[in-house]
């Protein structure tokens, strides 16, 4: 549910619930985007290819 949905009400419950969900999804999304972008850059620079962990 987004603020432009007809069911949306600007009250504390909506802001906390939906804000919390968006907050968690943003962290997960940014984290994964960073990992994938860095991986693309690393791979283009020729890193990896072994089992160094």
């Amino acid at each position: 549910m987004f603020p432009f949905s007809f069911e949306w009400i600007w009250d504390l419950s909506h802001m906390i619930f939906m804000g919390g969900l968006v907050y968690a999804l943003t962290i997960i999304g940014i984290g994964m985007t960073y990992c994938i972008l860095k991986t693309v850059v690393d791979t283009m620079h020729g890193k990896g290819g072994g089992q160094q962990h």
């Binding site: 549910m1 949905s5 069911e7 419950s13 909506h14 906390i16 619930f17 939906m18 919390g20 969900l21 968690a24 999804l25 962290i27 997960i28 984290g31 994964m32 960073y34 990992c35 994938i36 860095k38 991986t39 693309v40 690393d42 791979t43 020729g46 890193k47 990896g48 290819g49 072994g50 089992q51 962990h53």
Partner: protein
């Protein structure tokens, strides 16, 4: 046959033996899938749920696996946020167990809602006054976090890891894992709590109702606390079981000892809170609503006072005492007994908070109502167990789950 996929330096059973295991548990899985399809195609009339039991076996299983899977968030918190570095040797398995538990919980919910095609309604038409909405949000997000924690393990498979992109991705995901682990702990705290909160706010059900702080009944905190305490016990239980079945030592004793000790202290403090809660409920909350403690445990064929004693003493205080003493932790049999009892204890707690709540009469004209699940409910509850065993078998065979295995078995 598949030796190129098995991690280097470790020994696994023959492919034939492995395939037989997969076929056996695959058969059980198919039985569950058949029951699941019956429920989806024919509806919830395939179950023995009724107006008394709107929450039944599935919700108990759901709450049970979520509590047992709590080992993932708590071990992750200890490893990545608090910095208990020794736990890096068991965190992979804790994540795998958590992934299995949470995917099982979501599968059970998909069956329980009866109309899975409308599952997305809970996000789009969210009831922001419901604790179950919070559970749905946190559960879905935390499952995403567990998937992110599980992916690097898959990428570290011997063959997949040879591909530079996957190798780098696994490495980069490890680098930022602390952020995901912290997010997971935050999400877990709320959904574990809200599951307890659902029972605690039932003011029409004196067996479950509890006072609390602001909008949160005490059961909110007790559920989170118990998941943190008993979840690692399930991780230890499955680890020990895997060691017994595979005939290998997989984790060093100091790692087991540390997790068992932390679990023991968390259980000990939880039990003090639980006993105070039970005493206050029995002496103040329930009498204020016209009930005595014994009313909750008499005049019915199943729910006797034994269940309270079993939950708090036999499967609570006794395993906590074993885990708190160095002698108990160092004795393999005692440790296995303690973690087994602890797992039964948390499952008993979830059982009474789901099913005894429904069984207990609340009106003067009401009687105790017993419930026996249909075979379809039983099959769909066993389904995640078979799925979990298969995923453990595949992961143990092909992924480097235990970093100390090579050293311990050389």
């Amino acid at each position: 046959m598949d030796s190129a996929l098995i991690p280097e330096g470790v020994k696994r059973c023959s492919f034939g033996k492995f395939a037989i295991g997969i076929i056996i548990f695959g058969g059980v899985l198919l039985w569950g899938v058949y029951a699941m399809l019956l429920i989806w195609l024919k509806g919830l009339n395939q179950t023995n749920m009724n107006d008394y039991y709107g929450f039944a076996l599935w919700i108990w299983a759901d709450l049970g696996v979520i509590a047992l899977g709590g080992g993932a968030f708590f071990t992750g918190l200890l490893r990545y946020v608090i910095g208990k570095d020794e736990l890096k040797n068991i965190i992979n398995y804790a994540v795998l167990i958590g992934f299995i538990c949470y995917s099982s919980a979501l599968l059970i919910l998909a069956i329980d809602v009866g109309q899975p095609l409308r599952s997305w309604f809970i996000f789009w038409h969210a009831n922001v006054h419901s604790m179950l909405t919070e559970v749905a949000f946190c559960l879905s997000c935390y499952f995403a976090v567990l998937t992110i924690e599980y992916i690097p393990l898959i990428l570290e498979n011997r063959q997949i890891n040879k591909v530079p992109f996957f190798h780098n991705l696994a490495h980069n995901m490890h680098e930022v894992m602390a952020i995901f682990a912290a997010t997971g702990a935050f999400l877990s705290f709320f959904h574990q709590g809200s599951l307890g909160g659902v029972a605690g706010v039932l003011y029409g059900r004196p067996f479950a109702f509890r006072e609390g702080i602001f909008i949160w009944p005490w059961t909110f905190f007790l559920f989170t606390w118990s998941a943190a305490a008993y979840g690692p016990c399930f991780t230890l239980f499955i680890t020990r079981l895997t060691e017994k079945i595979s005939g290998k030592k997989l984790v060093k004793q100091n790692v087991i000892d540390l997790l068992a000790k932390i679990s023991g202290w968390t259980m000990g403090t939880y039990l003090i809170a639980k006993i105070i809660d039970t005493w206050y409920w029995a002496s103040v909350s329930a009498p204020a609503r016209g009930f005595n403690l014994i009313d909750f445990y008499s005049n019915n064929p199943f729910y006797g006072i034994w269940i309270l004693i079993a939950e708090i003493v036999v499967c609570g205080i006794i395993p906590a005492l074993i885990l708190l003493t160095p002698k108990g932790r160092n004795n393999s049999t005692l440790l296995f007994t303690a973690v087994s009892l602890a797992c039964i204890g948390v499952l008993l707690n979830r059982w009474v908070m789901v099913l005894q709540v429904m069984a207990m009469p609340v009106m003067t004209f009401d009687n105790w109502v017993m419930y026996i699940p249909s075979w379809q409910e039983v099959a769909t509850t066993i389904l995640p167990v078979a799925y979990g065993i298969i995923l453990v078998m595949i992961s143990f065979r092909y992924l480097p789950i235990f970093p100390q295995e090579r050293e311990l078995n050389s």
